[in-house]
Amino acid sequence: MERGMSLRLVENPVDRLARTIEALLVIAPGPLSVDELAAAAEDDAERVETALGLLASRYREGRSGIVLEHVASGYAFRAAREAAEACARLVERPVQRGLSQAALETLAIVVYLGPVSRPEIARIRGVAADSAVAGLVERGLIAEAGREQDGGAVRYRTTPLFERVFGLSSLSELPRLDDLAADSAELRARLEEVAGRRGA
């Protein structure tokens, strides 16, 4: 008992830092980067990472209802997956509910080409993008990022909330656009090949 007491008094300094990080994460409105955590805790980044490692083993699926997640280029607490149904009863997911095909395509264009303007989006999709863009802005998934030039069209980029909603630890997790579908030469060759076969 005596021994236990003294051990508690000579506390491991990383434990104290870990508690500070817990406090910061529970009040933060969004993910915090290692640098932000280090600045707020007035500690160095390396020690912050050690403490985050400690917290990751404590706040993980199956062990805790609170899960530490590396997301959107930072760290944040979220609810454990096992509690998803209870969470669904508590809050709606307005951000994700009913993203139309148009919204998803517009979002994809902003993700890969952003900052990008409505006319540029319309050019790629072949339809006016006004309502899709407005809906994504309202959901907080994209935001204004200046204008093309004086008097030019407003451009848009994705927000940290986008990365969070889609569970991306950073935009580099996205698949390469070139890997997603056939390139134009391939498509054209295929069209010609099909046409040639039909013609024969």
Binding site: V26, I27, A28, P29, E69, A76, F77, R78, A79, R81, A84, A88, R93, V95, Q96, L99, S100, Q101, A102, L104, E105, A108, I109, V111, Y112, P119, R123, I124, R125, G126, V127, A128, R147, E148, Q149, D150, G151, R164, V165, F166, G167, L168, L174, P175, L177, D178, L180, A181, A182, D183, S184, A185, L187, R188, R190, L191, V194, A195, R198, G199
Partner: protein, 242 residues
Amino acid sequence: MTAVAVRDLDLDLDAFEGPFDLLLTLVLKDELELGDVEVASVVAAFVERFAERDAADLEACGEFLVLIAALLELKARALFPDEENSPFEELDPEEAAGELAERLALYRRFKAAAEWLEDRLAAESDRYFRLGPAPLQPVVERPLPPQDPAALAAALRALAAEPPEPSLRHLALQFPPVSVFLERFRAVLRRRPRFVFDHEVRSLSRVEQAVAFLALLELRKGGEVKLGQAAPFEPITVWNAA
């Protein structure tokens, strides 16, 4: 795939869901805004359907190309009504085909990216996090340091600046002027009260037929003519509405 199959081509677009035939009818009746129709999706649906078939006739392709060309031109004109001044660039057919293939490929990539995002969203549906500030958190003031009023004047000047000329490179497919056919059909209707569209354009090239079809839509839109058709893809009869 025959003309009947082209007519039945099922479309699932933002603005429209149903057979291609119905889409054309709605456009003809001014009940569907062409600006809201994704022509690229129509083309993609056709190409997919076409690739599924073992045997198909090129007639169907021709039919489709004519209709889609007319839709495209009509849409371009709706977006840039001042046709005479539109700086449409000259493009040879080879270049135009290349550009079209490139645009389609780009669009397909973003469509695939949208699918990836959709799957990702579905996989993340059991991850919940708090949106917005934490409870029991005092509201934080965000004071602004002194600002320069000149920034306000500059912002307003920028808003008053002439917008840059919109790029028309994406509309670079060249068509003969619609006005030629407008005048031609008006002349025909001065001579007789009605004519059969298909007979009038029989000897024309596919592209010319497409533009002629467009001219017909324009006359219908302006209330100059009435159109009649026994069934989709039957000959179209044109009456003078005056």
